[in-house]
């Protein structure tokens, strides 16, 4: 009966309750939306970076990680054996990674050239899918010599598709080697910084002049089924290859992993701030509701309703107000997010592609996950209870007699 009374009490002043209910709903709606959007943005960014550049796990010789020395290579069979034994890797690409200079007639830039087996590479990295139809192809078999560079690099060098450019690097003996290559494809990913730093060439084009023995590599890029298996595979490979440098995507790009954690953390903080601000409104509303009912609460005390029950009734009123408002906000927020879960939200009309220079994509796929809902609901419960306490205590301080005196 107290629950139904509490609910009816909320609707004594329809306007006032609707306003605060609406404010709570709006706050929660924004909270859910922003959270889902920001988390989605980060996940999209992380996914893009893993797919295009990072892969799930990379393995290098320890010395290579320290100084990118061309002689710090590993034999393929060694890593291949460990990868096979780990059992969790779905695709692997073995690369030479050369610190090099790329020059056109107009300009020269420092880059890292990845010498790859195109078919293996396509299974690990989606760079080949980031070449627009008019921008050539990814290291095609029919090209005599080929290099894939990014749009950024092309712009810097002022070169186009089919232009000839020269790749220069030091071989194992310390002698300079130059290769004249033709641009076979120009790619563009969401991560402008990495685009600028990386070009792709065929292993078969580069290997003969490196001075390296056969079947040795600088880098193994591995893919697993998902982020969870990535963690397991990473742990297994670390024990299987104790003398090598095994790093998962987060270790390779700590800033990225950190941004992901920070985004989730800030989502909670923003919501907490919303709820904190809302709780003042809730407290104010409930305080008014208690004070204008002074006589009635006095009467209830007089006829034998205990202080504890009066306290509980006011707590319940506040809690109902908070929870119902929150529920409405969460439902609306979720309902508006669901359609864009798969189609994504395209930010290009608002922002252009300015974020891509910093590695963020322009189409955001929002994320809704259980963890987020648990956090939101926990915060709502805390806020509801905290803002209920003060008005309920106020109701306790009323003396039945004084309350009723005319």
């Amino acid at each position: 009966m107290i629950t139904s009374l509490a609910w009816k009490n909320i609707w004594r002043n329809r306007t006032r309750s609707s306003v605060i209910l609406g404010a709570i709903a709006l706050g929660l709606f924004c909270g859910v939306y922003i959270n889902s959007f920001m988390t989605g943005w980060m996940y999209t960014t992380v996914d893009d970076d893993i797919n295009n550049h990072l892969s799930h796990i990379q393995i290098h010789d320890t010395a290579f990680s320290a100084n990118n020395d061309i002689s710090a290579y590993f034999p393929r069979e060694k890593v291949e054996a460990a990868v096979g034994e780990s059992g969790l890797v779905t695709a692997a690409s073995y690369r030479l990674s050369l610190t090099a200079m790329l020059a056109s007639a107009n300009n020269a830039v420092g880059i890292t050239a990845k010498a790859v087996f195109p078919e293996d590479e396509k299974a690990v990295s989606t760079i080949w899918q980031n070449i627009a139809d008019t921008m050539g192809a990814y290291l095609p078999d029919d090209a005599r010599t080929a290099i894939v560079i990014s749009k950024k690099t092309a712009d810097k060098l002022k070169v186009k598709l089919k232009s000839k450019i020269v790749l220069t690097f030091q071989d194992t003996n310390g002698d300079m080697q130059s290769l004249a290559l033709r641009v076979s494809g120009i790619y563009k990913t969401a991560n402008g910084m990495k685009d600028e730093a990386t070009v792709y060439v065929r292993y078969s084009d580069v290997f003969p002049v490196t001075g390296l023995p056969e079947n040795v590599f600088h880098e193994a890029a591995l893919r697993t089924a998902d982020l969870e298996t990535c963690r397991q595979a990473d742990a297994r490979l670390k024990t299987l290859l104790p003398d090598m440098d095994v790093k998962d995507w987060g270790e390779n790009e700590p800033a990225l992993e950190m941004s992901l954690a920070m985004t989730e953390f800030f989502g909670v903080i923003i919501l907490a701030i919303f709820l904190f601000a809302l709780s003042f409104g809730i407290i104010n509303t409930m305080l008014m509701a208690v004070l204008e009912r002074t006589r009635e609460l006095g009467m209830l005390g007089a006829i034998g309703m205990s202080k504890r029950r009066i306290f509980n009734m006011i707590m319940l009123e506040t809690a109902l107000l908070t929870f119902v408002g929150s529920l409405v906000g969460i439902i609306i927020g979720t309902a508006l997010i669901v359609p864009s879960l798969s189609s994504g939200i395209d930010l290009t009309p608002f922002m252009g592609d300015q974020f891509e220079d910093y590695g963020f994509g322009s189409i955001i796929y929002p994320v809704l996950n259980v963890k987020m809902f648990v956090q939101i609901i926990a915060l709502v419960i805390i806020a509801g209870i905290l803002s209920a306490i003060y008005p309920a205590r106020k109701a306790l301080k009323l003396k039945p007699l004084e309350a009723m005196r005319n």
């Binding site: 009966m1 107290i2 009490n9 006095g298 007089a302 034998g304 309703m305 205990s306 202080k307 007699l401």
Partner: protein, 228 residues
Amino acid sequence: MNTIIKTTELVKIFRETAQEVCAVNNVSLSINEGEFTAIVGPSGSGKTTLLNLIGGLDKATSGSIVIDGQDISSLSEKRITEFRLHNIGFIFQAYNLIPVLTAKENVSFVMDLQGRKKSEIDRRATELLTSVGLGDRMNSRPAKLSGGQQQRVAVARALASKPKFILADEPTANLDSKSAANLLDMMERLNKQENVTFIFSTHDPRIMAKARRIVTLEDGKTVNDEAR
């Protein structure tokens, strides 16, 4: 006859900033089961204060109040609230009812606080409202009822908890004389038929006339106590 209320040398002093007001001054009073008693006296004579002390709504400065063998002056606030719930029915001059609840829900509310069974609550609320003549208005909210009807609901509510007695402080003060007389007739009938003990205060001579015992207060003292 059973004595259900016994006050002994009851004193209540209010301390305002400078002066003291002795609102109830040494009142010793016994009230038996089945009485229909009016407390009368001029404004400020201490009627409300005395009823509040008897009802455990206020603490006496000195003296004792024994209700049905239990000294209530020694009870803690929590115990006295519980005691009121189970032993005393109240009818106030105004603000008796919860505006968001219907007549029936208002009557049921006390029984719900007492923890009675739902079926019993339902039956008793219907019974009581019918007996105060509101059988057809059970689902109306107080705002839809006249002042007299609201006070009838209050009477039904006071009876609902099966109290030992009912205290009514000027229950007719806000009513026109016809409604006032009707309410009093109804209370009188309940007193005669169901042996409900009523103690009420009033200014109105016509209401006083219905009482079977009249206690007159002046400056907090009992100056007259007559049975009729």
